[in-house]
């Protein structure tokens, strides 16, 4: 009796969470799993077309182009963010005057909205009259203004913005990991005459192993998924140079700006959504497998 009542009590407490999750989190996934086999433009009767959407997907150059862009974007972001935040974490994990303040400053960008910052960067990176160019030209570092949002540099600018927003976050995650390493390991190593680099390779990296693996995995998935700031900054342009896959996907469902229009393709969009989720999942799996292998060798 008592046990049965406890069951019911627990279920009433879980119910709001479960219902919300099922309706707004799980149902949309099944919706997509259904409509990816349909030709559905948002109006009229959806038409079952089997695997046609996937056939189209494989021929869709624009999509694969956006996948390549996503890899460049995520790769560029991670190549700078991870080493930089790791170095900062190691430095700020030691006794250093002002480290609390520095941590707070580095972490500050992560509390600001990506879309708001994209607007700020849009203004200050503006090609002929942006403040960054004014300062660069004014101080003589470059002779002519750089077209930051033009076809040549737009993706680089997007990467710089992504780095700006991410470094503080990963620094903090690394610090949290570093703090789990017992201090006496370093003391023992010092007694044995190990230098700072030696300690880094023989203690910090191996001890951080699993946490490091988790943080990098998180970083990979997050950076593959990010498209908010690019959407505000360039909308994927110019000429698709900054089109990443989740932005391409978004455009199949909704217009980019409140004044804009889009050709709604819910059926094909669902197939693209499925494909992007599979791509992210595959990369995560590959990373997981490779890093595990490396761990075993170590």
């Amino acid at each position: 009796m008592n046990q049965a009542r406890r069951q019911i009590n627990a279920w009433t407490f879980v119910a709001p969470s479960l219902i919300l999750t099922l309706i707004f989190g799980v149902y949309p996934i099944f919706w997509a799993l259904k409509y990816m086999f349909y030709d559905y433009q948002g109006f009229g009767e959806p038409l079952y077309i089997g695997l046609d959407n996937f056939e189209r997907l494989f021929r869709d150059k624009e999509f694969w182009h956006s996948v390549v862009n996503t890899f460049i974007y995520a790769g560029g972001k991670l190549l700078v963010t991870l080493p930089l935040s790791f170095v900062l974490a190691v430095i700020l994990n030691r006794a250093l005057k002002g480290r609390q303040l520095l941590r707070a400053v580095y972490f500050l960008p992560t509390v600001i909205s990506a879309s708001v910052m994209a607007i700020v960067f849009y203004v200050i990176f503006n090609s002929y009259n942006g403040m960054v160019n004014q300062l660069l030209v004014g101080s003589g570092i470059v002779s002519a203004p750089i077209d930051w949002l033009g076809p040549k540099y737009a993706l680089l600018t997007a990467i710089i913005i992504a780095i700006w927003g991410a470094v503080g976050n990963y620094m903090l995650l690394f610090i949290a990991g570093l703090q789990n390493i017992p201090e006496d390991l370093y003391e023992a190593a010092s007694l044995d005459g190990a230098g700072p680099l030696r300690k880094m390779w023989s203690i910090t990296v191996p001890m951080l192993g699993p946490v490091l693996q988790m943080i990098i995995m998180l970083a990979i998935t997050v950076s593959l998924k990010g498209y908010e700031s690019i959407m505000v900054l360039t909308e994927g342009g110019p000429y698709g140079k900054t089109e990443v896959m989740y932005l391409y996907l978004y455009k199949l469902f909704f217009p980019v700006s409140s004044g804009g229009t889009s050709i709604q393709q819910f059926g094909y969009g669902s197939a693209v959504g499925f494909a992007t989720a599979v791509i992210v999942g595959l990369i995560t799996l590959i990373y997981f497998y490779v890093s595990k292998k490396l761990n075993d060798i170590y």
Binding site: G25, P28, V116
Partner: protein, 296 residues
């Protein structure tokens, strides 16, 4: 003999000095590096602030970082003409109710999961973790929007709020850790004193969770305040319901007139300001939450 004697202490002193100067050099380099990164982190925010006080003309042709003439009127213009008063209210509304809802739904579920071995618990936790890992991007917004149309909520901010609350998996997992940290003996003592499942939640768990709730609330509030795509999709045809993030991005497209970068920057500063103020007072809590996700 005498020369040897005289030389020996000198070399020691010299090496000591060179070690010292080497240390000084590496310290200087270290600080240059740290300050450069700090400058990189602060630079865009500072530029946005100074830029928001310039005239349109100075912003597009000037060459100094500081404004020549401090135009605080930009903020008034953004607040009144560009409708930022409305956007701010909408952002506050969404963020407050999303935070309250997430905390309520999250703590209830976390309490049940942490304290009772109910049937289907594993399945429930698995569903929650799946929502964290599977991401099909903007696709979900379409059925979510249709659901809100069916519920008649697509024309109010409640649609956005409910969907934001439904994405409470992260808060839920963090709250489980916090509930588990409350000793079970306290529950049991309360049961002996005549409390039941519900009153333990209200009288024991919630009061003891207060600090943790503060941290989770900050985290959720930040997420809701900064959310862009969801409110964009829901308010595309309803400017009166737009949040700061959506309204600000809308300025990029100009409303019939030429682009006004100084207004964009003033609006951006208005949107950032509340978060930055909260951050100045509570940065430890923000960082604790991030760090907590690693420690598990």
């Amino acid at each position: 003999m005498s020369t040897l004697h005289a030389a020996a202490p000198k070399t020691v002193e010299q090496t000591a000095r060179s070690v010292k100067s080497k240390k000084l050099l590496s310290r200087t380099l270290l600080w240059i590096f740290l300050l450069l990164v700090a400058a990189f982190a602060l630079f865009p925010i500072i530029l946005a602030f100074f830029g928001s006080l310039k005239t349109n003309l100075e912003l597009t042709t000037g060459t100094t970082m500081l404004p020549k003439e401090w135009k605080f009127g930009n903020y008034l213009q953004a607040w009144n003409t560009a409708n930022f008063a409305r956007f701010t209210w909408n952002s506050v509304f969404i963020s407050v109710f999303t935070t309250l809802g997430t905390l309520l739904v999250g703590t209830m579920a976390a309490y049940a999961v942490a304290r009772v071995d109910f049937i289907g618990k594993k399945l429930y936790v698995m569903i929650q973790s799946c929502t964290l890992f599977i991401s099909i991007g903007a696709v979900v917004l379409r059925p979510q929007f249709d659901l809100m149309v069916a519920l008649g909520l697509q024309k109010s901010l409640w649609g956005v709020i409910i969907i934001l609350i439904s994405a409470h998996a992260t808060a839920f997992f963090m709250l489980i850790g916090f509930v588990r940290a409350v000793p079970r003996e306290l529950d049991e003592a309360a049961f002996i004193d005549g409390c039941n499942f519900y009153s333990v939640y209200f009288r024991v768990i919630l009061p003891l969770l207060t600090p943790a709730l503060g941290v989770t609330a900050l985290w959720t509030f930040r997420g809701a305040w900064n959310e862009y795509i969801l409110p964009l999709v829901f308010t595309m045809t309803q400017p009166a319901l737009q949040t700061l993030t959506v309204g600000l991005a809308g300025l990029k497209y100009g409303i019939g007139d030429a682009a006004q970068p100084q207004l964009m920057l003033a609006g951006a500063c208005l949107s950032m300001l509340p978060m930055i103020v909260v951050y100045i007072f509570a940065n430890k809590s923000f960082m604790q939450m991030t760090a907590g996700s690693v420690k598990g």
